[in-house]
């Protein structure tokens, strides 16, 4: 632990590199949703593990910041633990699991259920920053399409989904238009989370390490999920409530209980769920326990 502190700069990256990343971030904030190429560095964790998010966090992190890291909504998944430890070691910053306490939240695949505020930065880890990539594999082409605001191909894809399946078959990494201009990939968050990006008071930064792109949604920016008048955008709904805290309006993870098909649903955002339980909210699984205890 002390070894890393002495041999590497604050938050691992050298100051020149951080300055280069900050410049890219400033440009990204100035052109909401536009993918800014940056000279991403090799990090001591593998590509695909969040190297883009880690570099963005390292560039914006200050010693007084309080950092929260989540993966799949939870602070306790292995990769979140590993990244949190990395910054605890290399930057010696205070870390937290509480969404409300954090000044910087690095996330993989979720936006916290608790609404964010103006003093917070949400850093997303992004695998494929290009929303058009699966429609057109060539970078030269997709950059041209963005420049010309040529997004017809994306609408055709969504339309084909509807005619084939009766639904838009994109459930995560659902494309959205930022500030009426650039279509962006919100990273693989479930589309359930898309509405949270719209007019969000916090600064949202997206880092793609392997693809070497940074993009941003400045605070209070309009973010519209793509849809059609007769097939408006809608989010996932569950028939169940959270079995632990009883929440009716959160993204639920399915937990398989046995091989007989029994399962339960719990909040994917573990901090939100714990908070609600601390406030006395109870879901089905907890209520039964209490009844048993009372008997």
């Amino acid at each position: 632990m002390t070894q890393i502190q002495s041999e590497y700069n604050f938050a691992y990256l050298d100051e020149q590199t951080k300055r280069m990343i900050r410049r890219a971030i400033l440009k990204a904030v100035a052109i909401p949703g536009y993918q800014v190429p940056f000279a991403g560095r090799e990090m001591p964790m593998p590509y695909g593990w969040g190297t883009g998010g880690v570099q963005v966090t390292a560039a914006v992190l200050a010693p007084q910041d309080i950092l929260k890291v989540i993966d799949q909504g939870s602070d306790d998944t292995t990769n979140a633990v590993s990244i949190r430890q990395f910054f605890a070691k290399t930057a010696n910053v205070v870390t937290t699991e509480k969404t409300t306490e954090a000044t910087i939240i690095q996330t993989r695949h979720r936006i916290p259920e608790t609404p964010l505020n103006e003093d917070q930065i949400l850093v997303y880890q992004v695998p494929i920053p290009e929303p058009l990539r699966f429609l057109e594999p060539r970078e030269v082409e997709t950059r041209k399409m963005h420049a010309l605001e040529e997004y017809g191909l994306m609408h055709v894809k969504l339309y084909e989904d509807i005619s084939r399946h009766g639904h838009i078959a994109t459930t995560y990494a659902y494309p959205a238009k930022v500030d009426g201009r650039y279509v962006m990939d919100p990273s693989p968050i479930p589309k359930f989370d898309n509405p949270k990006m719209n007019m969000c008071p916090a600064l949202q930064l997206f880092g793609a390490g392997r693809e070497k792109r940074i993009y941003a949604i400045p605070p209070y920016t309009q973010v519209t999920s793509l849809d059609f008048e007769d097939y408006p955008f809608e989010i996932q709904k569950w028939e169940e409530n959270c079995a632990l805290c009883g929440a009716e309006d959160t993204f639920l993870d399915e937990v398989i209980l046995d091989d007989q098909g029994n399962r339960m649903f719990v909040c994917s955002d573990s901090d939100y769920c714990n908070d609600r339980q601390a406030q006395g909210h109870r879901g089905e699984a907890n209520r039964e326990d209490e009844m048993e205890a009372a008997q």
Binding site: Y8, Y12, D14, P37, F38, A39, G40, E42, M43, P44, P46, Y47, G48, W49, D71, Q72, G73, D76, T77, T78, N79, A80, V81, S82, Q85, H109, R110, P127, P137, R138, E139, V140, H165, G166, H167, A169, T171, Y172, P188, I189, P190, K191, F192, R210, K212, Q236, W238, A243, L244, F251, D253, V255, L257, V266, S268, S270, C273, A285, N286, D289
Partner: protein, 369 residues
């Protein structure tokens, strides 16, 4: 009561301890010394230096030990270390014709000025397991010639073929000194890419990937009829010219393998028929990599030579975006990370679509009745 899975931190710490234990293996067996690796597994060390793009045999040997012999993992360790190192200076271009030669062969001429120097090579060995290596074997000393080699070993392509105008001349930028060479590790890769960046990308690229692409050109996917004009392996001196000093300083030698290929070209309306060329260079001794790189370099010059782009190997976006094994292994292996949320979203959609279909079938059936 159900408790969500906790204890990630403790589990990770324990997994790391187990990894360290497995790396060490049976404690009754002597621990591997990094010097043994750098001296006796030199070709492996060469590969780590080339793809890690850091010339440091001791460090690469240590990385191989730490990575338990997993080459890509070792390359990854080197890359992550390299990225933190400051840049003091850029060297002046290395002059490989002044190399201290260990090996130099040409496949295009039987004999040539400077001679065919076989050097240390597997090429003519029979691949029979040598069971005497199980024990400490005595290695007979190799004979050395007293004659010595030419200090200036002529280059097949530039000194021997170019006189007749038979080989394409490489475009040399007039103000070469002031023209900055691209650096992928400091600027993002952008398309279309120039040859300097393409060559850097291939030099760092995965040996297996570059090999397979080179092979594909031989099997007819953008065939370019390649001959190995020359391969040379040896030590070249590295010279820097610090601006504040204004004179050159030799900072040491590096081992390099260089390959230049001679490829066919039909000629055009303006150009008489002439041979074209491909170039490969690798740290240490690695002929497989250098030859493959030259084949792929040649294929990627399709645009410059006005050739039709018909195969993957000619498509620079395809080649350059997928050659880096640290990027590939990271992204391929990252799918073992949790994807609960995305999968949950898909589950919900598939269930809904199945339910819709079921309801539709029932209502159709009722309508039919």
């Amino acid at each position: 009561m159900y408790v969500a899975v906790k204890g990630g931190e403790k589990a990770i710490a324990n997994a790391h301890k187990l990894l360290a234990e497995d790396r060490r293996g049976c404690p009754d067996v002597d621990e591997l010394q990094t010097r043994q690796i750098s001296e006796q597994l030199g070709l492996g060390v060469s590969r780590i230096m080339a793809e890690g793009s850091l010339y440091d045999k001791d460090l690469c040997a240590l990385a191989m030990k730490q990575a338990r012999g997993d080459m890509i993992e070792a390359i990854f360790l080197i890359r992550a270390y390299r990225t933190t190192l400051p840049r003091f200076s850029y060297s002046v271009p290395v002059d490989t014709s002044k190399m201290d030669i260990d090996r130099r062969i040409s496949a295009t001429f039987k004999d040539l000025p400077g001679g065919q120097i076989l050097g240390p090579t597997f090429d003519y060995t029979h691949r029979l397991i040598d069971f005497t290596l199980e024990a400490d074997e005595q290695v007979p000393k190799a004979n050395t010639s007293e004659a010595g080699l030419d200090d200036d070993m002529p280059r097949v392509l530039d000194n021997l073929l170019k006189g007749e105008g038979l080989i394409q001349s490489e475009a040399v930028v007039e103000d070469e000194d002031s023209q900055a060479v691209g650096d992928l590790t400091r600027e993002p890769l952008e398309f279309p890419a120039n040859r300097d960046v393409r060559l850097q990308n291939l030099a760092r690229g995965d040996e297996g990937f570059v090999l397979a692409l080179g092979y594909s050109t031989q099997r007819g996917y953008a065939r370019s009829h390649a001959f190995v004009g020359e391969i040379r392996f040896g030590k070249a001196s590295l010279v820097i010219e610090p601006e504040e000093l204004g004179f050159a300083i030799d900072i040491g030698d590096i081992e390099l393998t260089e390959c230049e290929t001679v490829n066919q070209f039909q000629g055009s309306k303006t150009e008489p028929p002439q041979f074209t060329r491909g170039y490969g260079l690798a740290f240490g001794q690695n002929e497989r990599k250098a030859i493959s790189m030259a084949l792929v370099d040649r294929a990627l010059r399709a645009r410059e030579l006005g050739e039709d782009i018909v195969a993957a190997v000619q498509d620079e976006e395809f080649v350059l975006s997928h050659s880096d094994n640290i990027q590939s292994t990271g992204f391929v292996e990252h799918i073992k990370l949790p994807h609960y949320v995305d999968f949950q979203s898909e589950l919900e959609l598939v269930r809904r679509m199945r339910r819709d279909l079921e309801e539709k079938n029932i209502s159709e059936k009722q309508a039919a009745e």
